[in-house]
């Protein structure tokens, strides 16, 4: 079943962002599919990170921060008064570029979000932890293994743990911000396998500077430059036959030649 047959759950319409009178995003339209990976690529300063922050309401507020447009999660305005912030963050998960474990065991880490919500039912909680760890490939029947301190893990495993931490809350959409940036190639491959596994059941929006990775993993891709969507579409199409010269220049590494 192609993901095009399911309605996208996170929709961005005509999103514009100005910070201190400088445009950061201009009229961005995109849709994170219900299943599968949407990669967002673009040079530094293209607004990718700001976009991400707007999607889980972590962009810092301020008098100089002006926003226009709509972000809809399952049809609801993400920024409406009725939305509870905690719920938004649970439904729109976010994984940071550098893996930072919480103090405590592996199980403690994955359970953190659940403990906040006071999921009282022990079995419920354990079930969610098990599911999350299975998806990322860190699950083991051995209880003692799960009770190991989280900082014992290798860097790659730590990043998998961070993803599991977010998955435990059963998010609708997962925002991955350069998650393999600090990992060696082997760990990167493991995380990429995990991303494909995650994308089987939910939408993933992935920021990456690694174009080969974007080509490997994503089903659709959005190319941002200077806050505008230059081109978007099926990955295979955009990478092999980009419609615009700008896109082709970026993919070929020609963007940014000469002094900025």
């Amino acid at each position: 079943m192609s993901q095009r047959q399911l309605t996208p759950r996170l929709v961005v319409r005509a999103l514009s962002l100005r910070v201190a009178d400088a445009p950061v995003l201009q009229g961005v339209h995109l849709e994170v599919p219900a299943r599968g990976v949407l990669a967002v690529i673009g040079p530094a300063g293209s607004g990718k990170t700001a976009l991400l922050r707007l999607l889980n309401r972590t962009l810092a507020r301020g008098p100089t921060v002006q926003v226009e447009g709509q972000i809809l999660l399952d049809g609801d305005d993400l920024y409406s008064e009725r939305q509870r912030l905690r719920r938004v963050r649970q439904r729109v998960g976010h994984v940071f570029p550098d893996p930072v474990p919480f103090p405590g065991t592996i199980a403690d880490n994955v359970a953190y979000g659940l403990a906040l919500d006071r999921v009282a039912d022990r079995t419920q909680r354990d079930l969610k932890i098990e599911r999350a760890l299975k998806t990322v490939g860190l699950w083991t029947r051995d209880r003692a293994e799960l009770m190991r301190p989280a900082d014992d893990l290798s860097r790659g495993d730590l990043q998998l743990l961070c993803i599991a931490r977010t998955l435990a809350l059963d998010p609708v959409v997962l925002l991955l911000e350069n998650v393999t940036r600090s990992l060696d190639p082997v760990a990167t491959r493991r995380v990429e396998r995990c991303i494909r596994a995650v994308a089987e059941h939910r939408g993933v929006l992935m920021l990456t500077h690694d174009l080969a990775q974007a080509a490997r993993l994503s089903d659709e891709v959005v190319y941002l430059e200077d806050g505008r969507v230059i081109e978007q579409g099926a990955t295979a199409q955009v990478f092999t036959h980009p419609r615009l010269q700008q896109t082709e220049d970026f993919l070929a590494g020609r963007t940014g030649e000469g002094l900025a």
């Binding site: 905690r86 976010h94 403990a115 906040l116 961070c162």
Partner: protein
């Protein structure tokens, strides 16, 4: 009565103020500056506290002078210790906890403070011991009685013992698990 309150409440007030200034206030702004001023007084001389207590008019009551001096010396030290303990915690913890739905205070309470606890306890124990030891000169100056110290010279020895014990305790508390 007030003296007892001062003696007891100085610790929670100092810790609470430290937490406020270090974690709940934007980095630029009047409140942050106020925190810098309070923390800066952590190395103030007990002689200063003693003279101030005198000026405020407490020389009659020795207990009053002690309690006031204790508060004046201890609160800034605890404020600075909270700042130092929190600074050693990975700043990424707060952001990641909030990304999972925690409010800023929840993130502090459930993650950042427990991580900072060993270091904070170590620092706070030393602050208390040091302030205890300094009450003697403070009393001498504020309540005007050198004879006090000369007859009770053992106070000096006790002060040193406090400090050494506190430092040993602090080192043990701060040692990694």
């Amino acid at each position: 009565m007030i003296e007892v309150l001062l003696l007891l409440l100085s610790v929670p007030i100092g810790l609470g103020a430290g937490l406020y200034f270090a974690a709940l206030v934007p980095e630029d702004g009047l409140r942050h500056q106020a925190g810098v001023v309070v923390a800066g007084l952590s190395e103030a001389s007990p002689a200063l506290a003693g003279l101030a207590v005198l000026g405020v008019g407490l020389q009659g009551s020795q207990v009053g002078a002690l309690a006031c001096g204790w508060a004046l010396l201890l609160v800034p030290r605890l404020v600075r210790s909270v700042e130092r303990a929190l600074a050693e915690v990975d700043p990424g913890l707060q952001a990641r906890a909030e990304a999972l739905g925690a409010t800023p205070w929840e993130a502090l309470r459930t993650l950042v403070l427990p991580a900072a606890a060993p270091r904070l306890t170590g620092l706070a124990v030393r602050d208390v011991a040091r302030t205890l030891g300094e009450l003697a000169p403070l009393l001498v100056i504020s309540a005007a009685g050198l004879a006090l110290l000369q007859t009770h010279a053992w106070v000096a020895g006790a002060a040193v013992a406090w400090v050494v014990a506190a430092n040993v305790l602090a080192t043990l508390l701060e040692a990694p698990r």
